[in-house]
C-alpha cells in the first residue's frame, strides 16, 4: 500500500498507526486536540481516539513533560508535542533531570518510553523562538535518544519506531518541510532500524553530512556541482546515538567532509562529528572536517533568516574550502 504524502500527513498517519497498534500510546500537548496542533500534525486524532488519548494540556511545558513522566511510570507511552522548538526550554529540567535519568536512577526498573516531538529549524518567516535548533543540548544528555527525520517516508516510520522505543526519544521534525513536497510512502514496507544513518546520494570526492532540513539543501548542493565534483550525502537521521559506521566508511573513501546544520556552529553537532571523524579517519583526511551552520548569534529577525541559515551556496563554499587544503 503506497500513498503520496507530505511530511505532515506522514507524521499524522504514523501517529495514527501507533495509536491503533498500542492503546497505551497517548498524545499530549498544547492545541493538539480540536485544532490538531498548530501544524495539524495531530489533525483528526482526538476526534477518533477521544480526549483521554489526545490530551490538550494546560499551557505549561514543564507540566506537560512532568505529567508524561508519571503516565510513563503507570505504563503509558506518552507522545508529547512541543509547539515550537523555542518552547522546549521550560521543560528542560524535567527532560534532562528526570526523563533522561529515571532508567539509570532505578537501575533499569523504570522505563521512560516518552517521545518528545519538536518541530525544529527555521525558514518559515516566524518571530523569535520559533526557528531554533536545540538538538545538541539534548544529544549531550546521556539517557536521551535524539533523531531527526528529513522526508515523508522517514517521518512515517521513524515516529512509529520512536514510540515503540523503550527509551525517551527527542523527535525533531523539520517544520519548514511539513507541507512541502509529497513522497510515496509504502506503509507495508519494512523500515530500516531507527538509529541508522543512510547514504542518500553516493559520491567520491567529498562527504556532506546533514539531518532534518539540511538534507534537502545538501542534495541540491550535490546536484548543483554534478559533473564537477562527486558529492556523497549522508542523512544522519540519528543524532544520539550517532551511527558512525556509514560516516567513517564514506570519509575514508572521500578524504573530505563537511558537516551541516541550522544550529549554531559553536558546540553544535558538527563539533562532535568533526572530532569523531578526525579520531577515526585521521590518516584519510585530506582536509580538516569543515562545518557549516547558523552563525554564532541568536536566530535573527525573519527577513534575514535565509541569509543566516546555511544554504546551498554556503555549503558549496565549504566544500570548495576543503579542496583548498
Amino acid at each position: 500500500m503506497t500513498e503520496k504524502m507530505t511530511l505532515a500527513k506522514a507524521l499524522n498517519a504514523g501517529l495514527r498507526q501507533a495509536m491503533e497498534d498500542d492503546p497505551k500510546v497517548l498524545l499530549m500537548g498544547e492545541d493538539v486536540g480540536k485544532l490538531g496542533g498548530v501544524f495539524r500534525i495531530t489533525d483528526g486524532l482526538q476526534k477518533d481516539f477521544g480526549e483521554d488519548r489526545v490530551i490538550d494540556s494546560p499551557l505549561a511545558e514543564s507540566g506537560i513533560v512532568g505529567t508524561a513522566v508519571g503516565l510513563a511510570m503507570r505504563g503509558y507511552r506518552p507522545v508529547v508535542e512541543i509547539q515550537f522548538d523555542g518552547f522546549v526550554y521550560p521543560a528542560y529540567d524535567q527532560i534532562v533531570s528526570q526523563v533522561a535519568k529515571i532508567r539509570f536512577r532505578t537501575q533499569g526498573r523504570v522505563a521512560m518510553p516518552i517521545v518528545i516531538r519538536i518541530p525544529f529549524g527555521g525558514g518559515i518567516g516566524a518571530v523569535e523562538h520559533h526557528s531554533e535548533s536545540p538538538e545538541a543540548q539534548f544529544a549531550h544528555t546521556p539517557g536521551l535518544k535524539v533523531v531527526a527525520c528529513s522526508n515523508p517516508v522517514d517521518g512515517y516510520w521513524m515516529i512509529q519506531q520512536a514510540i515503540a522505543s523503550d527509551d525517551p526519544v527527542i523527535f525533531l521534525e523539520p517544520k519548514r518541510q511539513y507541507h512541502g513536497a509529497k513522497s510515496e510512502v509504502d506503509t507495508s514496507a519494512t523500515p530500516e532500524p531507527l538509529h541508522t544513518s543512510r547514504v542518500v546520494r553516493a559520491g567520491s570526492d567529498v562527504t556532506l553530512l546533514a539531518y532534518g532540513p539540511m538534507v534537502r539543501t545538501c542534495l541540491s548542493a550535490a546536484e548543483a556541482v554534478e559533473g564537477e565534483r562527486s558529492v556523497e550525502v549522508i542523512d544522519l537521521r540519528t543524532l544520539s546515538p550517532l551511527d558512525m559506521g556509514p560516516v567513517v566508511e564514506s570519509v575514508r573513501r572521500t578524504g573530505r567532509a563537511v558537516v551541516t546544520h541550522e544550529a549554531q556552529v559553536n558546540l553544535g553537532m558538527g563539533a562532535e562529528l568533526a572530532a569523531r571523524i578526525t579520531e577515526q579517519c585521521f590518516y584519510s583526511l585530506e582536509a580538516p572536517v569543515l562545518r557549516v551552520g547558523g552563525f554564532d548569534t541568536p536566530y535573527p529577525a525573519s527577513r534575514i533568516e535565509e541569509e543566516w541559515l546555511p544554504d546551498l551556496d554556503r555549503v558549496l563554499d565549504a566544500v570548495d574550502r576543503t579542496f583548498d587544503f
Binding site: 492545541d31 490538550d56 499551557l59 518552547f87 518567516g125 518571530v127 523562538h129 541568536p298 527577513r303 543566516w308
Partner: protein
C-alpha cells in the same frame, strides 16, 4: 472511563463558575454596561472627566485602527504575522492609561493598546511583525519592555524590576512623581506557566510593587479558559496572599479604575495585586490561526454585543459628550494613522545580513569578529561575480 462517561475529567463547570460565568460572574467590576449605561461599584467607583472619556474613546478607536490596518498589511504580505487585539481595546487602554510615566510595563506580544498609551510609535511594533527586527524600541524611553513571546516569562521580569524600584526607594514615599510600580501583562493561558506562579510567589514574598494584569480573553489559541483553571482566575491570587480582582475588560472605565487603584496600592508599598480583565479575543489567535476549527461563531456573536468601543460611544453620545464633529475628526485621524502605517511599513528596511553580529555581546569577541569578516568576504565574493 467508568467514572465520568464522556471522558472529561473536569468538574461540572456550570457548578463551579455559577450560571453567570459567561457574563464574568457576580464579582465582575463594571462601571459601564454593554449598553453604555453608567453603573456604580462600591469599591472601585470613580468620576471621569469628559476629556478623559473622550481620550479613552479616541485611544480605543485608533488602537483598533492600528489593529485592523496591521491585519490587512499581513494579508498583503507586508507583515509576516500579526497578533490581533480586536475586542481587548478597553482592557489595554484602561490599564495603559492608568500608568504614570515612571511606571514600567511588561507586555506580551499583543499589547498594542498599551504600547499606544506608552507613546510608542506603532511602526515599531510593525517592525517586529514584519520580521525586520525583534523589538526595536528603547524600553527606557517609554518604560515599555520588549514584547515577550515566551509565555509568562515577563511576569518575573516585572517582579524583578519592581524589586529594583523598592531598592531605589521609589515606593511609599508619598511623592507622586517618584513612587512607581510595574505592570506585568499576560494571558489566561499564561497563568498556567510556572514562571507566572513563581512571579506571584516572589512578588508576595518581597511585597513588590507589581500589578499582574491578566487579559482573560477566554482562549489560549484553541484551548478554552477552562483547560487552565476551574475557578475564576482572579481567585488565583488568594492562594498567594494578595488581592485579586475581576474587572470587565470590555469596560474601559472599570479597567482604568481598578488598575489605577492596584497601581496606587503598589506604589504606596502595599504590594502586588492580580487583575483579571474578563474579555474576549474577537479575532483569530494570530493571522495564521483559524478559529472556526475550535469555537462557535455564536460565542463570538454574543461577545460582539459587549464591544468595548461601542459602549463608550453610546455613553458619550447619549450624554452629549461627543458630536459628529468629534467623530468625523477622529475618523480622519484614524485614516491618517492607517495611511502612515501603510506607507511606513514599506520603509521598514530589511537589516543587513551582517547586522546579526551586532549586539550579541557588548563588544564583538574576536572569534565572532572572524566569523563576521569571513561572512563579509563571502558575501563580497558574490558581488564581484556580478
Amino acid at each position: 472511563m467508568t467514572h465520568v462517561p464522556d471522558g472529561e475529567f473536569g468538574p461540572d463547570l456550570a457548578e463551579v463558575f455559577g450560571p453567570q460565568q459567561s457574563d464574568g460572574g457576580p464579582e465582575l467590576v463594571q462601571l459601564l454596561t454593554p449598553e453604555g449605561e453608567r453603573t456604580h461599584h462600591a469599591e472601585f467607583d470613580m468620576d471621569f472627566s469628559a476629556e478623559q472619556l473622550r481620550g479613552f474613546y479616541r485611544d480605543m478607536v485608533l488602537t483598533r485602527r492600528i489593529d485592523t490596518e496591521s491585519t490587512a498589511l499581513q494579508r498583503h504580505g507586508e507583515l509576516g504575522i500579526w497578533a490581533q487585539l480586536l475586542g481587548q481595546e478597553a482592557a489595554q487602554i484602561g490599564s495603559g492609561r492608568a500608568l504614570r510615566p515612571q511606571d514600567f510595563a511588561f507586555p506580551t506580544y499583543r499589547e498594542h493598546g498599551v504600547a499606544w498609551c506608552r507613546g510608542l510609535d506603532p511602526l515599531k511594533l510593525l517592525g517586529l511583525f514584519r520580521g525586520v527586527d525583534q523589538s526595536s524600541w528603547d524600553p527606557a524611553e517609554t518604560n515599555f519592555a520588549p514584547y515577550t513571546i515566551i509565555i509568562g516569562a515577563q511576569a518575573l521580569h516585572a517582579t524583578g524590576y519592581a524589586m529594583g524600584i523598592q531598592r531605589d526607594g521609589a515606593v511609599g514615599t508619598g511623592d507622586p512623581e517618584r513612587d512607581a510600580a510595574t505592570i506585568g501583562y499576560f494571558g489566561d493561558g499564561a497563568s498556567s506557566q510556572g514562571d507566572v506562579n513563581e512571579a506571584f510567589i516572589f512578588a508576595a514574598s518581597y511585597n513588590a510593587p507589581v500589578v499582574f494584569f491578566c487579559q482573560n480573553n477566554q482562549w489560549a489559541i484553541s484551548e478554552p479558559f477552562e483547560r487552565q483553571s476551574r475557578i475564576p482566575l482572579y481567585q488565583r491570587a488568594l492562594g498567594f496572599g494578595f488581592p485579586g480582582v475581576r474587572v470587565d475588560g470590555n469596560d474601559v472605565m472599570a479597567t482604568y479604575a481598578v488598575t489605577q487603584a492596584a497601581l496606587q496600592r503598589a506604589r504606596e508599598g502595599s504590594g502586588p495585586t492580580l487583575i483579571e480583565a474578563y474579555t474576549y479575543r474577537m479575532g483569530a489567535h494570530t493571522t495564521t490561526d483559524d478559529p472556526t476549527r475550535y469555537r462557535l461563531s455564536d460565542d463570538v456573536e454574543n461577545w460582539k454585543l459587549k464591544d468595548p468601543i461601542a459602549r463608550v460611544e453610546a455613553y458619550l453620545r447619549r450624554n452629549g459628550l461627543i458630536d459628529e464633529q468629534f467623530t468625523d475628526a477622529l475618523t480622519v485621524e484614524a485614516d491618517q494613522l492607517g495611511e502612515r502605517l501603510r506607507a511606513g511599513v514599506k520603509e521598514l528596511a530589511d537589516p543587513s545580513p551582517l547586522s546579526v553580529f551586532d549586539h550579541v555581546y557588548a563588544e564583538l569577541p574576536p572569534e565572532l569578529a572572524e566569523q563576521r569578516d569571513g561572512y563579509a568576504e563571502y558575501l563580497a565574493s558574490f558581488e564581484g561575480a556580478h
